[in-house]
């Protein structure tokens, strides 16, 4: 996973609440066997008209937002299906930072597994960059993870909260499976503590 520390990039505003992961990656693309290449399908049904003609009315296709890497979103972003294809597609398209008033739980978790920084700001705070992004072409934001701040060149600056452990994971690009495997003795001890006394922890088909 690619670490992320300080990131400055073009902002794309997506002014919709409750954007679900079905919209980010529709099901017909779930059949792929790898984690790469989902970027071209990001927001597929909103983005393309029949025949994969880009829909000029969808914000992702506005020329001014080409190359955006900071996604500005509304409440409950990433709700619905657990599909991790959603963050894979966002990342593959080029988004490294997502700013929203709130995120759905599973999606929020999935971001951290993929080197995407999800930033939660208050509703009223999010309104301001929305205004600025729509008013100023080429509007950029900087997300500074070590200092937990979002800022722009015009003096806007917001502090954001993030769990310390998650912050460290993103800063160092940690492989959490590797980390957990280091706790192997604890896992084995847990299994030994629980297995003898309870069949709960074994799965036996008693019909066979």
């Amino acid at each position: 996973m690619q670490p992320i520390s300080k990131h400055t990039g073009l902002v794309m505003p997506l002014d919709r609440v409750n954007v679900d992961t079905d919209q980010m990656v529709p099901k017909q693309f779930l059949k792929a066997l790898t984690r790469q290449g989902f970027g071209r399908n990001l927001f597929y049904d909103w983005r393309y008209l029949p025949g994969e003609v880009p829909n000029p009315e969808f914000v992702l296709n506005f020329p001014r937002y080409r190359g955006a890497s900071v996604l500005l979103a509304r409440a409950n972003f990433g709700c619905g299906s657990s599909r991790e294809h959603a963050p894979w597609a966002l990342l593959d398209y080029g988004f490294r930072v997502i700013i929203a008033p709130s995120f759905a739980d599973i999606f929020y978790n999935n971001c951290f597994k993929n080197g995407i920084l999800p930033i939660t700001l208050a509703d009223a705070q999010v309104d301001e960059p929305f205004r600025r992004a729509e008013a100023t072409e080429g509007y950029q934001l900087t997300a500074d993870l070590p200092n937990q701040a979002v800022s722009d060149a015009q003096g806007l600056k917001f502090h954001f909260d993030i769990d310390d452990f998650r912050k460290a994971v993103l800063l160092e690009g940690l492989d959490d499976i590797g980390l957990t495997l280091k706790q192997e003795p604890d896992i084995t001890a847990y299994e030994q503590r629980h297995h003898p006394q309870a069949n709960l922890y074994q799965a036996v088909d008693f019909t066979q």
Binding site: R16, D20, N76, G80, D105
Partner: protein
């Protein structure tokens, strides 16, 4: 109850870090898991507990013409054999939707931690288990370590008071709750469903409720295990027998929340006031009673909600003020992990017996949740009743809930569906979904538009 299960699964706790918890059952399906296996292999890692991992094909399997070779997906779970994981493939007698077969096999038991790369894993909470959906990276993590890094959730108590009126299904109870708290009302929480309405429900009905917890934003939903739970479990393939079973039941009796247990949030609903529900928009929170009308977007106070409602009505091609019962449907889908169990199919069969689907209907599909449900239904002759009424009787799978196989809703068409998501394009690009209970869907199939099932005098159970 959440705290009890949580505490008994802590492997390692360090302040400032997420807790490492042990996972008792890991369910895997072909939709979201191939990349996780590939990751394990690429890193040269092993699956720690193949014996606690179970795989099933459900998301993209065809529900008809199964004798034809399938081109598409045979390779997707090839890893299972490699790692020694038990797989229920398409032809297996036990195959079905992962959230239907887990309980049916008795893999799901009270007090367990259960995960699956699928957000509707919350279904298994109906047994008093802590069950939630995870992403593919987490699937890989569980495969490698049988553990998961988790932060403790907040808890929410949802109490349904009073007796469920006849014709009102558990689906209506959960839709009414989501309508009340909104689709992010449960975010960050684990919901416990309680109250006399819930304790009178069958396991099938409780599963429907827990299933849709995620639609209210909660990762997990649970119901305290009781006699209904134990009776359901006794004799299931993976449930111990005889004396051992009774030892387990004694343990399970300690699981329910203690009297006066504290919750971070509490919500109460009066079940006697709940009518059959129909969604009118593009998320499950956009829902109303069958006796109501399509709402006017201006009736919402929040400007974001207003905008969302305008957009939803445009997508759904509905005019504000239209009575719900005047909305015609093109297709009816009865199935999905929410409503495809025996009780659902029985109720549907009772309602449609001797009747026929409306001539205006393009198709009505019944897709049993598992091959076991299918076999039992056929034993009872339900398939015959349904076929005679004009329904198509299919093989088990996710089918039109997600439209990953050939069962899709064509653009612009409108469905009455017993599934759980009415997102844009969920059942097929441009498709318009109305979520309802099984008997509401069946009644809509017969009438060609929504009707209030309470007027038909049919209940969910006999």
């Amino acid at each position: 109850m959440y705290d009890k299960i949580w505490e008994s699964h802590v492997v390692r706790e360090i302040p400032g870090e997420p807790t490492l918890i042990y996972i008792d059952r890991h369910l895997v399906h072909e939709g979201t898991s191939p990349q996780a296996f590939a990751g394990i292999e690429a890193a040269g890692r092993q699956v720690r507990r193949p014996d606690l991992t179970f795989a099933v094909m459900d998301h993209s399997v065809p529900t008809k013409n199964r004798e034809l070779p399938i081109v598409d997906d045979s390779a997707r779970l090839q890893y299972c054999a490699e790692f020694g994981i038990r797989l229920y493939p398409m032809g297996d007698a036990n195959q079905g939707i992962v959230h239907v077969i887990g309980p049916q096999l008795g893999l799901t038991q009270p007090g367990m931690t259960i995960v699956c790369g699928d957000s509707h894993t919350s279904t298994h909470g109906a047994f008093g288990a802590l069950a939630f959906g995870i992403g593919t990276s987490e699937v890989e993590h569980v495969l490698a370590t049988q553990c998961l890094q988790q932060d403790r959730s907040k808890t929410m108590l949802v109490t349904f008071r009073g007796k469920r009126p006849p014709g009102v299904s558990s689906k209506d109870l959960i839709l009414a709750l989501i309508g009340k708290i909104g689709i992010s009302g449960g975010t960050g929480h684990v919901i416990e469903y309680a109250g006399e309405t819930i304790s009178r429900l069958s396991m099938d009905a409780r599963m429907t409720i827990c299933n849709m917890s995620i639609e209210g934003g909660a990762r997990a939903g649970m119901v305290a295990p009781d006699q209904t739970t134990f009776e359901y479990l006794e004799g299931r393939p993976f449930v111990p027998r005889g004396r051992e079973f009774h030892v387990l039941v004694d343990e399970w009796m300690y699981l329910p929340s203690d009297f006066g247990a504290k919750f971070d949030k509490t919500v109460e609903l009066d079940a006697t006031q709940i009518a059959p529900q129909v969604t009118w928009g593009t998320n499950p929170g956009m829902v109303t009673s069958v006796t109501e009308r399509v709402p006017d977007p201006n009736s919402f106070r929040d400007p974001d909600e207003q905008k969302a409602a305008v957009r939803a009505l445009e997508y759904m091609a509905l005019r504000p003020g239209t009575p719900i019962v005047d909305i015609p449907v093109d297709r009816v889908f009865i199935g999905s992990c929410t409503n495809s169990r025996l009780e659902d199919l029985r109720a549907v069969a009772r309602l449609v017996r001797g009747k026929h689907i409306a001539p205006t209907l393009k198709a009505a599909l019944v897709v049993p949740g598992s091959r076991v449900v299918k076999a039992k239904a056929e034993e009872e002759g339900l398939d015959r009743i349904l076929r005679e009424a004009g329904f198509e009787w299919r093989d088990a799978g996710c089918s039109m809930c997600i439209g990953m196989n050939d069962d899709v809703l064509p653009p612009g068409e409108r469905s009455a569906s017993t599934s759980n998501r009415n997102f844009e394009g969920r059942q097929g690009k441009g498709s318009r979904t109305h979520l309802v209970s099984p008997i509401m869907a069946a009644a809509a199939a017969i009438a060609g538009h929504f009707v209030d099932v309470r007027e038909l005098g049919v209940d969910v159970t006999e």
